[in-house]
């Protein structure tokens, strides 16, 4: 849905690096170089960013700003 806060395997915080990663990769930078520069050296952390797909934007197409009463 949204980038996980930490790496599932080792617990390093990865969420704060995702936006920069996505921006630079979209600009055509090699993902491997961006990951190295962001300090994600282990492959467990690297796959967190590499394999992530943000789908919160698709959910937001159905968003309301009303409080939904629970039934």
């Amino acid at each position: 849905m949204i980038i996980p806060v930490r790496c599932f395997t080792c617990g390093k915080v990865v969420a704060d690096k995702f936006e920069e990663f996505r921006r630079e990769v979209r600009q055509g930078e090699d993902p491997a170089i961006v990951l190295d520069r962001l300090g994600l050296h282990r492959y467990c952390c690297r796959r967190m960013l590499l394999s992530h797909i943000d789908i919160i934007d698709s959910f937001m197409a159905f968003a309301t700003s009303e409080l939904v009463e629970e039934t």
């Binding site: 849905m1 915080v13 936006e19 959910f59 159905f62 968003a63």
Partner: protein, 266 residues
């Protein structure tokens, strides 16, 4: 026992521990992982959440945000005078209030405001949730000290790892300078210069033994020093890495003392 600091960064420390048993090295590692306390959000009161994210997921994400911890300012709830009910000595309240305007808005960990200015998210850029136009999020979060023994979110470290100090040696009389080992080494430990094979940065060697397998005359040998350990401690930002090591050593000493007292009382 001797400790030499090899490299120190803001969030990580590399040190060499010499003259210790592997049991001690592992005890130190496990103490850093599970016994050194740090602050984390443990309870969240959601007052309003019209975002697309469920309250539970949001609370879970908040729990994982590392908070800068001042260990001397707070008590562990079970050791506090309030007997774990929660008071200002063992609990810190953080609040978050955001409403999106006409645009989508990302809510970050930096948007949390804390009652204690010292206890703040270690990194401000963690996206928590994205709000669609006019959605609101109002919540109150209660942070407390805890240990990794209870929940991994309380671990002050992302990873603590150690390896034995590698010993890379080349038998010059057997070596025919073919260069195969130089090519295969992923860490560039072996260098061939002017027909002499030498080694560099041997501490970086990962003990993969790829060089041994490729060397036909059997000139390279990889060994490790049994009583020397290279530690790598990577902090989440909750505590400075050197403080994690110091605290872990103190806690370990105390626990060993307790065990000895008990053994002596038998």
């Amino acid at each position: 026992m001797e400790i030499t600091i090899i490299r120190k960064q803001d969030d990580a420390i590399h040190f060499l521990l010499e003259g210790a048993h592997v049991g001690f090295a592992n005890a130190l590692r496990r103490t850093m992982l599970t016994r050194v306390p740090s602050m984390s959000i443990d309870e969240v009161l959601i007052l309003e959440n019209t975002s697309v994210m469920y309250d539970e997921i949001l609370a879970h994400r908040l729990g994982l945000v590392p908070l800068v911890t001042k260990l001397d300012d707070y008590n562990l709830p079970e050791e506090c005078d309030c007997e774990g009910k929660g008071c200002s000595l063992c609990q810190c309240t953080l609040t978050l209030e955001k409403e999106a305007g006409d645009q989508d808005m990302m809510v970050y960990s930096g948007d949390l405001s804390s009652q204690d200015p010292e206890v703040m998210p270690a990194t401000e850029g963690i996206p928590l949730v994205k709000l669609a136009p006019h959605q609101t999020l109002i919540l109150e979060a209660y942070a407390r000290l805890g240990t990794g023994l209870e929940n991994a979110k309380f671990q002050p470290v992302a990873t603590v790892a150690y390896k034995n100090v590698p010993l890379v040696s080349v038998d010059k009389s057997k070596c025919n300078q073919c260069g195969d080992c130089v090519e295969v080494c992923p860490k560039n430990i072996l260098v061939l210069e002017d027909d002499v094979l030498s080694t560099q940065n041997t501490l970086e060697c990962s003990l993969c033994e790829a060089c041994v397998r490729v060397c036909e005359p059997g000139a390279v040998t990889i060994d490790s020093k049994e009583d020397s350990f290279l530690f790598k401690v990577e902090s989440t930002g909750a505590l400075p890495p050197e403080e994690i090591v110091e605290r872990a050593a103190e806690i370990l000493k105390e626990r060993i003392g307790e065990a000895l007292d008990f053994a002596n009382s038998l």
